[in-house]
């Protein structure tokens, strides 16, 4: 204030004012109201201006905001909670049928596997799979045991599937793609519900599931709990199937529990804690298999994770994330063949795996045009599997990653980043990525990208020594050598190139199209050979055997109309793959008859030439749901997968078609105490002959689910 104006005003500063600092121009944003005045102020009838003037902490901080699909450097399929519900799927793995180009197979009733672009065996190990940032593919197979995850399908808020390598943003093992599951926030539930399902899956006792959800929200603390039980009799196998006897013993039972809590001591910090466990019993074995007669496998899994998110302002947040996962599988049985003198032998295929990881990540909005995510992580993992691995294994991996989203102009966006990984097996690999998104108009976006990613060998590939020494009719201490690794494997490396188009229209229509060409070199694959003294011939080693190429076109159309009452998702994928054999793969530890050599060579050659059949040429899925009234909804899902022959030992799958239906009726008030829902799901309603990966028949199934809020 200038001196000349002073006399016109009399600023009567009372004692209270005089003590305060010199009046300054406060930003409107930094309003005087403190957070702590909150709800208490509003309890009464007092009318206050605080609603207008109070400040709030940053809720949707930089790392909470996901990139819109039109700005991601990759093709991304998003499956939200509503789509999962309306699909009527009972198993989490089945949800991925809603991803173009995704193969979902089952080794048996409780061992689903999910692989983008077909598969090479039932141990799919070429995808990164994250649940709330926790990497859940586990050693020694580096595969995901979907049924052992302490996670109920109802706990899922959203699934993002990155189609294509994305090591920069999601870490290692993402050479085919990334599955990123986000579970419901601790605050997502304020109440309790119980849900029970009965169905005729697999005949016998059918399927029986139950789940209880309970959650409470508070000003600073939210938490939710899930207790679930799931059981079914698995699949039926036709008499013609080589796995016919599996059908006798394919039942499973799983109990899970999980807890998620979120505590916010102030406006800037948020602590998210999760823990969970699962306990499952899986029936397996075949009366004809001397080393695996009918018996149970017992699986246990647990995890703990803590996430500290600090968002001091709208442009920065810092995250420290720690998790620990432990899983063990106990598979103990006596072999069926008993020598008169010695008796039967205890065989044990027990596996235990432990993973811990600590990650720091900083997300920064730099000016209006750059958004940088960078971080470091260290991972410690170990596995013990006495009848699978040469010795207990452990390693420590570390990685440094950064990705910048640079808005070169309003129309042009560049995503560039890299991950440098020390894989704990003596290798350092750089996985870079660059993608350019061009917004031709607000509705049309074009994308082009190139990326590199690596997959580290699993211990089952690098260090296996799978054998039984048992007494058989052939004699005492007979050796069955199944696997033996010679080691020294190089990581698989993927170079991916893709172009995409994204249309996002006001009418509620969105279109996602993509063409890609991926080269995967040093593909690790079974390498048959004859192990000296083994009654089992051939034994398998693992070698960097192939260079593979995947090309394809795929697309998704989503349409929402009629005040969100109608929802349509359509996915289509056309793909092809090929492989060439590289190097000289076979090790012979002893001279072999020419016929045996030729047979083993032929197996390898077949693997290379048959590679093209490992992806279905055409596949599509469709999910339409309609909210007919406040209480009633219905949906139709149709899934078609072309003929495919996922490798190793299994029969080819013919064209599979499946029509699923779901109708649901709510009663009482939605989600309120006393309210609930009854739903009926019919899978494979037209009773098409769906032959699965291992030759099982997926016949028509129906489930009735009742949910009650209390």
């Amino acid at each position: 204030m200038s001196v000349e104006n002073m006399p016109r005003f009399r600023l009567r500063m009372r004692r209270k004012f005089a003590r305060s600092v010199r009046p300054q121009r406060f930003s409107w944003l930094i309003a005087s109201a403190s957070f702590s005045v909150c709800a208490v102020c509003y309890a009464g009838d007092d009318v206050s201006e605080q609603s207008f003037l109070q400040d709030f902490p940053v809720v949707l901080s930089a790392s909470r905001l996901s990139q819109p699909i039109s700005e991601t450097p990759n093709a991304v399929t998003v499956i939200d909670r509503a789509a999962i519900k309306t699909s009527g799927f009972r198993n989490i793995a089945d949800v991925f049928k809603l991803v173009p180009g995704m193969y979902v197979g089952y080794k048996d009733g409780y061992s689903p596997f999910v692989s983008y672009r077909g598969g090479m065996d039932e141990y799919t190990r070429r995808m990164q799979v994250l649940v709330d940032g926790r990497s859940v593919y586990l050693p020694p197979y580096n595969t995901v045991d979907w049924e052992d995850l302490p996670l109920h399908i109802n706990d899922i808020e959203r699934i993002e599937v990155v189609r294509g390598p994305a090591a920069t943003s999601y870490g290692s093992n993402s050479i085919l793609g990334v599955i990123n599951i986000t579970t419901r926030d601790a605050s997502a539930l304020n109440g309790a519900s119980i849900s029970a399902t009965r169905g005729n899956a697999g005949g016998g006792n059918g399927a029986s599931d139950a789940v209880i959800h309970y959650g409470r929200c508070g000003e600073r603390l939210d938490y939710r709990l899930t207790f679930g039980a799931k059981s079914d009799d698995g699949f039926k196998f036709p008499a013609s199937s080589p796995n016919y006897y599996n059908g006798y013993n394919d039942s499973s039972r799983t109990y899970i529990a999980n807890l998620r809590g979120n505590y916010r001591p102030n406006g800037a910090d948020s602590f998210d804690l999760q823990l969970g466990f699962s306990d499952g019993v899986r029936a397996t074995g075949d009366p004809r298999n001397t080393n695996s007669p009918p018996h149970d496998i017992k699986n246990k899994s647990n995890f703990f994770q803590l996430n500290w998110l600090r968002a001091p302002d709208r442009n920065n947040d810092y995250r420290i994330h720690y998790y620990r996962i432990y899983r063990n599988s106990t598979d103990e049985r006596y072999n069926a063949v008993i020598l008169p003198v010695v008796g039967s032998t205890l065989l044990a295929d027990n596996v235990a795996a432990l993973r811990q990881e600590l990650e720091f990540q900083h997300t920064a909005q730099i000016g209006q045009v750059n958004r940088l995510v960078w971080g470091v992580a260290v991972r410690q993992e170990s596995a013990d599997a006495p009848t699978l691995l040469k010795a207990p294994q452990s390693l420590r991996q570390s990685r440094l990653f950064a990705n910048d989203e640079w808005r070169i102009s309003p129309k042009l966006l560049l995503n560039a980043g890299a991950m440098l990984e020390h894989n704990g097996m003596g290798r350092k690999d750089l996985s870079p990525k660059v993608a350019l998104n061009y917004h031709a108009t607000a509705e049309h976006t074009f994308r082009a990208g190139v990326s590199v990613a690596h997959r580290n060998p699993a211990w089952v590939e690098e260090s296996s020594n799978s054998r039984y020494v048992t007494n058989t009719t052939a004699g005492p201490n007979t050796l069955y050598q199944y696997l033996y690794s010679s080691g020294g494997l190089r990581p698989e490396r993927a170079l991916s190139r893709e172009v995409g188009y994204l249309g996002n229209f006001h009418s509620g229509l969105s279109v996602d199209l993509r063409a890609y060409n991926d080269q995967v070199s040093d593909v690790i694959f079974f390498d048959p050979f004859v192990y000296a003294g083994s009654l089992k011939v051939p034994t398998y080693d693992f070698r960097n055997e192939f260079s593979a190429r995947y090309t394809g076109l795929e697309g998704t159309v989503k349409y929402i109309w009629g005040a969100k009452k109608n929802n349509l998702i359509f996915n289509y994928a056309h793909q092809s793959s090929s492989a060439v054999l590289v190097g000289t793969p076979i090790i012979f530890t002893q001279p072999l008859p020419l016929a045996v050599q030729n047979a083993v060579l032929a197996q390898i050659q077949n693997a290379a030439t048959g590679f093209g059949a490992s992806v279905p040429m055409n596949s599509f899925s469709l999910l339409y749901s309609r909210q007919m009234s406040d209480a009633c909804s219905a949906s139709v899902g149709y899934y078609q997968q072309g003929a495919v022959h996922v490798y190793v030992g299994q029969s080819p799958q013919p064209l599979n078609r499946r029509l699923d239906l779901r109708v649901a009726r709510r009663f009482g008030a939605t989600e309120k105490v006393g309210g609930g829902e009854v739903s009926l799901v019919v899978q494979n309603a037209l009773q098409d002959n769906n032959v699965g990966y291992s030759g099982y028949l997926f016949d028509r199934r129906a489930y009735l689910t009742a949910t009650f809020n209390f």
Partner: protein, 315 residues
């Protein structure tokens, strides 16, 4: 011999008189006595301080004697005018003997409550207010301009009257928007009502209702809306900072500008314009949230211009 008392008093005030003379003389000694305006603040600092600072700036070189006091102080406006800043101050001065009162930084409902509590003020032509609330039309226009593809607008309410809702519905209909409203209460706790609204709407319009929108609920409201892919339109910049897509609001400085005009009118006519919504406004946009929701985000300046042009509002 001591100084005469009058001389002593004169000497003490000499500096002040001298400066007053310097200022008044160039304007002419014939000017009328300055209008005395007492500004009563509900609280010190923050937006209240911002308002009083801006008002002081606006009234520089005007023939107005401005006295800024605390709500707890004894207010003795005499024949002058009182500007009550915030509800605490407004409640305190409504019951005083002040003849002319202008309430600012108050919600519309707050002003109405004061009129109910002090019915004698209702008839006065010198009792008025500039609300914090934006006119409904302006909020509806913001949605229409910002989200041209979205037609279903959700509103949660607790204490709105049927008339207010009817007006909102009508205004929305004029812009091709449909209102989905849901009342919260014992039967429908907030999270259930919110989910219902998000299931049926494409955008959530937050309206000042402290039982719904406060610091203990805002987090879950914003997270749930974001999960549903529904943008939130708020009514203060704090919402935008927290994660709302946009908000239309009026800053204390803009209210001060309008207040200065009210004061001048009072100086000339001894009456105040009727209670009204703020004429000036700003729009804040959270571009990051907009982009993340896959929306084509327009700049705040563009939106202000468009809405002002249509509505004939002043900027």
């Amino acid at each position: 011999m001591g100084e005469p008392v009058w001389w002593s008093a004169m000497r003490k005030q000499a500096g002040r008189i001298l400066v007053l003379l310097c200022l008044y003389l160039p304007l002419g000694c014939i000017q009328a006595a300055p209008l005395a305006v007492t500004v009563v603040l509900s609280e010190h600092g923050g937006p209240y301080q911002e308002f009083s600072d801006a008002l002081r700036e606006k009234l520089i070189k005007k023939n107005i004697y401005l006295d800024i006091v605390d709500e707890a102080d004894e207010v003795n406006p005499g024949q002058g005018m009182v500007v009550a800043v915030g509800m605490k101050a407004a409640a305190a001065v409504a019951g005083s003997g002040a003849r002319a009162i202008l309430n600012v930084l108050v919600p519309e409902t707050g002003h109405e409550k004061l009129l109910r509590d002090h019915p004698q003020r209702a008839a006065s032509k010198a009792y008025s207010a500039i609300f914090l609330d934006q006119p409904t039309e302006r909020q509806v226009r913001l949605i229409a301009a910002m989200l041209p593809g979205k037609r279903q607008v959700g509103v949660l309410f607790d204490s709105f009257s049927p008339d207010e809702l009817a007006e909102l519905k009508q205004r929305m209909a004029m812009h091709g928007l449909s209102l989905h409203e849901h009342k919260i209460g014992a039967d429908f706790p907030l999270h259930i009502a919110l989910q219902h609204i998000l299931d049926n709407s494409e955008v959530l319009l937050a309206l000042p209702d402290a039982a719904i929108y406060n610091s203990s609920t805002i987090r879950n409201i914003l997270l749930a809306s974001y999960r549903s892919g529904d943008p939130v339109i708020g009514f203060s910049p704090a919402y935008v900072k927290a994660g709302a897509l946009a908000a239309v609001f009026t800053t204390p400085a803009q209210i001060a500008e309008q207040t200065a005009r009210f004061i001048q009118q009072y100086g000339e006519t001894r009456t105040l314009p009727s209670a009204q919504h703020p004429q000036l406004f700003e729009i804040a946009v959270n571009e990051q949230v907009g982009r993340s929701l896959g929306l084509a985000v327009r700049s705040a300046e563009e939106l202000v211009q468009e809405i002002s042009a249509i509505a004939g509002d002043a900027r």
